[in-house]
């Protein structure tokens, strides 16, 4: 008792109030910087609810920064001011204070209020995200190893690797997965949902700014997880309409038979470099990257038949390119996934055939 009374009479220590004022000034300055920091220029935003999440982030950053600056500031200041000096003698002890109940009360209550405010703010934004009105465009995103598939209503076939949405239109995106866990994230949307096989999750957003944005898989999904990405295009209403009809035209064309004779080996080689070489080498069958090497399709003793068991022939190769492959060796996406037109397929077949012939000579 006597001790604590004595302590009450003591000052808070040299420089306590100036330091407090200085820390407060630093805090205000940093808060201002946080408030005006153009974060949306580093990672551009698509539209709601990204703007609200940025506001929440700014708000929490201001509070978190204030707490951190005070804690760190007093830590350094106390450590300097109350350091032991040789003149104190080896047995010097500090002020023997055990408790200041009032202080402890306040530093329990004030943080409780602060987290309550953050919680209320978060819940409000969360509730707003649940109630976005209007399902003007409802579409699906499906995760595959290692591609994003997008399905639009009224469109027969899926689109791979790029997602187009019209500006100023509320989008309801149902996400799921065809194989393992993936996650649909666009840093510019500020929201994500795991793509879980057998489960559909819904993301709602309203794009407001025309442009191209990134879509990234953030849940580990296998060897090529790092390269699983897609592009999100926010188009003007007209451009979106044009894109839709172009898709419909392309899909109509895709159902026509492939004219194998029209293939150009040189064009096929360029295409192979873009689309195939991440998984296939042009070495012998056993020179695998993900799938087998394709350089000796017709004459490799390790490769008497295609992985499908058929004898290698231009028609059989084009069949694999069209339908994809799923079996003990692995998975190869189909033509939609690889965005291959009829001409592309013909070119690739011509190129692969020419490789084997070169080796034979």
């Amino acid at each position: 008792m006597a001790q604590s009374r004595a302590h009450r009479k003591m000052s808070l220590g040299p420089g306590f109030w100036p330091v407090t004022i200085a820390l407060t000034i630093v805090n205000v300055a940093i808060s201002y910087v946080i408030a005006v920091f153009p974060f949306e220029q580093l990672v551009p935003i698509v539209g709601a609810p990204a703007d609200q999440i940025d506001t929440l982030f700014r708000f929490m950053s201001v509070i978190g920064n204030a707490i951190f600056v005070y804690v760190l500031g007093y830590l350094v200041y106390f450590a300097i001011v109350w350091r032991w000096r040789p003149s104190d003698g080896p047995d010097a002890i500090g002020v023997q204070v055990h408790d200041v109940p009032k202080l402890e009360f306040w530093w329990t209550v004030v943080p409780s209020i602060i987290v309550a405010i953050i919680a209320i703010f978060s819940v409000r934004i969360w509730a707003g995200m649940q109630n976005t009105p209007g399902d003007v465009l409802t579409m699906e995103a499906i995760g595959h190893q290692f591609k994003f598939e997008f399905r639009y209503p009224k469109m027969k076939n899926s689109v791979y690797d790029s997602m187009h949405v019209p500006v100023d239109t509320p989008v309801t995106l149902n996400v799921t997965s065809a194989d393992v866990l993936h996650s649909f994230w666009s840093p510019s949307l500020r929201i994500k949902a795991d793509m879980v096989p057998g489960l559909v999750q819904t993301l709602r957003f309203t794009p407001e700014h025309i442009g191209k944005y990134a879509i990234i898989c953030t849940e580990f999904c296998g060897t090529q997880h790092a390269n699983m990405a897609a592009a999100l295009y926010v188009d003007s209403q007209q451009a979106f309409g044009a894109w839709l009809s172009a898709q419909a035209r392309q899909q109509g064309q895709a159902s026509a038979p492939v004219a194998l004779g029209s293939g150009q080996a040189a064009a096929g080689q360029a295409l192979f470099g873009q689309k195939c070489s991440t998984c296939h080498s042009i070495g012998p069958f056993n020179q695998k990257i993900v799938g087998p090497g394709l350089g000796h399709l017709f004459n490799d003793p390790a490769h008497p038949a295609l992985v499908t068991g058929e004898k290698a022939s231009p028609a059989a190769i084009s069949h694999i390119l069209i339908s994809g492959y799923q079996g003990p060796i692995g998975v190869m996406p189909n033509r939609q996934a690889n965005a291959l037109s009829n001409q592309d397929i013909a070119n690739l077949v011509a190129y692969l055939t020419s490789l084997s012939q070169k080796k034979q000579r």
Binding site: F39, V43, Q52, F57, G64, F68, V71, Y74, L75, F78, A79, W82, R83, W84, P90, D91, A92, I93, G94, Q96, H98, D99, V100, L103, E104, W107, P111, V115, I118, A119, F121, S122, V123, I125, W126, Q130, D179, V180, L181, S183, W185, P187, R190, I191, K192, A193, D194, V196, P197, L199, Q201, A214, T218, E219, F220, G222, Q224, H225, A226, N227
Partner: protein, 569 residues
Amino acid sequence: MAVAAHAGFIGGDTHDHIHPEPQGFIRKYVFSLDAKVIGIQYMVAAFLFFLISGLLAEVVRTQLLVPRGAILSNDTYNGVYSLHGSSMVWMVIIPLMTGAFGNFVMPLQIGARDVAFPWLNLLSFWLFPVSAVILFSSFLIGAPDAGWTEYPPISVQGPAGTSLWCIAIFLIGISSTMTGLNFMVTIVKMRAPGMTFTRMPLFVWASLATALLNMVATAALSAATAALFMERQFNVPFYDPTRGGSPLLWQHMFWFYSHPAVYIMILPGFGIVSEVFPTFARKPIFGYKMIAFSSIAIALLGFMVWAHHMFTSGMAPWLALPFMILTMVIAVPTGIKIFSWLATLWGGKIHFHPAMLFSLGFIATFTFGGITGVFLSSVPFDYDAHGTYFIVAHIHYVLFGGSVFALYSGLYYWWPKITGRMMSNTLGVWHFWLTFLAFNVTFLPMHLLGLWGMPRRVAQYQLHPEFQFWNDVASVGSYVLALSTLILIYNMVQSLLRGRRAPGNPWNARTLEWMTTSPPPYYNFRTIPAVLKNPYNFGEPLPYIGLDEAESAGSTHPPAGSSPLPAHA
């Protein structure tokens, strides 16, 4: 003194030790029953694994030097970071926190001769290197690649080593459960006479809270890994959605353990800091009861927040809210601790020993990590940051900036007690500053990278070459971090070889472990002392009676004009 005459009666003598002192090398140092030896065994083994997993971390940082990935194939890289995470959590931090310091310090601090079940303790320890060897040997048959969380279904299809991962984690889980049980009984039943709960040192309080978590939560991990193993090896459907299972089931079971596990990894660290601060500030710990109470509060709340790791996973959306609010509530007891430590500094006579420096650094980095933790608990923000490098940054701020800094602090603090030798303070100070700076250089940029769009667990970022600069900064920081560890190793080696002999109580500390020789004798205390008061009242006589005079020589307080604290660096 009359008190001394009672001593033999009060505590009994060395003959009432639980088991007789073993003879022979094997029984003394290999299959020892002595908690102190087991603690040192934990320390040596876990430090070795720390170096191995640290090396794996350097491999990760080297790979990410260039966008296409510098040295490894994607598959190898996935194995490397998975083993880095798994072994840092289960083979390094948890064994060091509970196994090493818990075993060495806790029985001494409560004035016991050993833990309650020495044989169980022996078994707990030997399961640990066995499981570590199993874990690391998974590299030979294809290391697990789905990270330390091993989410199915990818882990069900994963490389053969994933099954070894299941076995290793199952075994270390059993070991943790047994340690928790052992410590719980030890602390509840074996305190020295007079040591009421409110007279226990704060490290003991932290160990008690940790023991509760270890005992209850770890059992859930054992069940989850057993089920994953059965699914992989015997095709039993638990997690595979095509056969009626649920991937989310694993996430619930895994996080029901692994969230409390973060508190298993940090609560003993809180205890260490709470011991170091009073000793080197020469002040009682501020708000003893609140710190002790908040440890228990954190442990209990820790059971109720696991699903905050699953906001984006596909739970019923409204479920996120209670988990968010409970998670934020944990910030309050944690804040109480931080403010209490700050208040302990106020009015002190602070000695900048390396142990103190690491505790001060702990406050700085852990507060930062705690604040980003509150950010992440906010559901809308988590929708953005989940699964990115922001998470990587956060977890390293709390597990490296928190747990490992606390472990370093404890190492410098108890090293003389454990080895009987003093370490070089100068090297310790260098070690601290290099570690502290390099740590921040390594992990601070990761917050930015995460929000910018870099997901975690990527072997390449060739789609975003603009991430390269900050990745390179982080990698350079990590190399300096590795170098700083070499200073620590050199310091330990030179201390063991030619360090000054440590007195029983080199820091004039007041908890019981300093009231015996350094290193302590086999039986800890010749006579078990009786405890009269809370240990942290500097300026008062020591609150122990019945201590053996020879053992505690030089530690009665204050020894006028003798053994000053070590000079400043």
